[in-house]
């Protein structure tokens, strides 16, 4: 039986852990050739070995700092040079930190926008020509309930993630005629960082769990990955500009996450 994404090429940033790993593995399992890019190239190489051994797909690895436009441009070019095409672009790399808005410096705001927003803009712009020529593209960006619901103390993250959503929806409207869809996943899944945080803050873990109808936290591979696979495949061809909440229902009433901040 042919795998769903056989013959397709996917580029995923930050594929060696968390949500990126979950999405990347689901897409690789469906037979796509993989191009994975991130700062920590040793971890990326480890993950590449796993993907090749487990799914039998070709995997190319590149060390990329997505906060640098030249490196993002080079990343997309290297993928197209290596594989001759780029069908699926998963802009997963991103992060946040907790700090009061009024204490946020220009440099901090600028950095978080480079990491979470400009990286995505640059990658999408670089990928457009090949996707347009192919008359086929699947762009999958990551949003966050932090941004949608304006969680306290993560203003740069919130703003940059909402900016990504607007960017994605605009691309959906402008690029739809070229057979390119662009959608957002708002995921909620456990990660090493989240697990460490909850171990240190059991009351917060309990409070958040109570607001999740599914009664559990997500697992990147089992819960988020299959949604990324759906968005990467032909079956989602009539969906674009959408925000998909993959969070066990947490978005319905919001999630009471509130990090500790210094005064």
């Amino acid at each position: 039986m042919t795998k769903e994404l056989e013959g397709r090429v996917a580029l995923v940033t930050g594929a060696s852990q968390g949500i990126g790993q979950g999405c990347s593995r689901a897409i690789a399992a469906a037979g796509a050739k993989m191009f994975i890019a991130q700062r920590n190239v040793e971890n990326a190489e480890e993950e590449a070995k796993y993907l090749r051994a487990t799914y039998g797909v070709e995997v190319e690895v590149m060390k990329v700092d997505v906060t640098k436009r030249a490196e993002v441009d080079a990343m997309v070019k290297a993928c197209v040079d290596k594989f001759g095409k780029l069908d699926i672009l998963v802009n997963n790399a991103g992060a946040s930190v907790a700090k009061r808005l009024e204490n946020t410096t220009d440099e901090e705001m600028s950095y978080w926008f480079d990491l979470n927003y400009f990286s995505v803009f640059w990658a999408m712009r670089a990928a457009f020509p090949i996707m347009k020529a192919q008359k086929y593209g699947r762009i999958i960006n990551m949003g966050s309930l932090n941004g949608v619901n304006a969680h306290m103390f993560t203003a740069p993250y919130n703003a940059s993630k909402e900016a990504v959503r607007a960017l994605t929806r605009t691309a959906a409207v402008e690029w739809g005629a070229h057979g390119i869809t662009a959608n957002i996943i708002c995921p909620a899944a456990n990660s090493r960082n989240a697990e460490e945080y909850f171990a240190a803050n059991p009351e917060m873990e309990k409070a958040i769990l109570q607001q999740i109808p599914a009664g559990r936290f997500g697992q990147a591979e089992q819960d988020i990955g299959p949604v990324a696979l759906f968005l990467a495949s032909a079956a989602s061809g009539f969906m674009t500009g959408n925000t998909i909440y993959v969070d066990g229902g947490g978005h319905i009433n919001g999630v009471p996450w509130r990090p500790y901040v210094e005064d």
Binding site: G176, A177, I212, D223, L229, M239, N242, V246, G249
Partner: protein, 250 residues
């Protein structure tokens, strides 16, 4: 096969979106009970479904018989032995300016769409709890926009959306997911619009980023298969737009 061995009920399954969803479910491996008040069309669709999944069948039923709706769930469970998916597609509507609608006309959307959804969800609950099943309700782009003449229709759809979110919250601990799909497809209704107002239809198409109406089976049905399948196991209380990118809110 994403729905291999699953048992599903699809209301409004005789034609249009309901038919598209039923066919997609069957091709994904599910046995389907389709429910509709259109007897002839229902039997035609039943034959098409049986060619794919011989266990599928049609029940002619008018969903405004609110107090008897549990009979539909009983029929499915007695035939299939269980229930995994409930898809509430059926919906009739009065399309007219608010000022022109009588009380009876205003009730149509609620009586044919919202209340059947509500009562079928209740009847299905114990069976879905046993299987860890899910419910897919149907909204419309109309509930987000403010298109003229859709006053009582949009209200019924928003009612279904509200119900969907609360059910997701209340039944999450029962292992039941509840979601909403808002499709835009070349259903009989939309096809009629194209026929009677081709210029208006073309103008409408221009506002759709993907430049076309959806195919009931390959566009809408496939998305509903995803939502009803294990791939969407961590999605509940969600409004999934399957409308070629038209959505203006969100």
């Amino acid at each position: 096969m994403n729905l291999n061995g699953k048992a599903a009920i699809v209301t409004g399954g005789a034609r249009g979106i309901g038919k598209g969803v039923s066919l997609a479910f069957a091709k994904a491996g599910a046995d389907v009970l389709i429910v509709d008040r259109e007897g002839e069309l229902g039997r035609e669709t039943e034959a098409e479904l049986r060619a794919i999944r011989p266990g599928s069948f049609f029940l002619e039923f008018d969903l405004v018989k609110h107090e008897r709706l549990s009979e539909i769930v009983d029929a499915a469970v007695s035939r299939f032995g269980k229930l995994d998916i409930l898809a509430n597609v059926a919906q009739a509507a009065t399309i007219a300016p608010i000022l022109d609608q009588t009380l009876e006309q205003a009730k149509v959307g609620i009586d044919t769409g919202f209340l059947p959804t509500f009562m079928l969800m209740k009847a299905a609950h114990p069976h879905l709890k046993k299987t860890g099943g899910n419910i897919v309700n149907f909204g419309s782009g109309a509930l987000l926009s403010g298109v003229r003449d859709q006053g009582s229709y949009a209200a019924a759809k928003e009612a279904i959306r509200g119900l969907t979110k609360i059910a997701a919250t209340e039944w999450g601990s029962d292992g039941i997911r509840v979601n909403l799909v808002c499709p835009f497809a070349m259903s009989p209704g939309v096809a009629a619009w194209k026929q009677y107002d081709p210029a208006g239809f073309e103008l409408g198409l221009q506002r759709i980023p993907l430049g076309r109406g959806g195919d009931c089976e390959t566009d809408i049905g496939e998305a509903v298969v995803f939502l009803a399948s294990d791939s969407a196991r961590y999605i509940t209380g969600h409004t999934l737009m399957v409308d070629g990118g038209q959505t203006k809110v969100f």
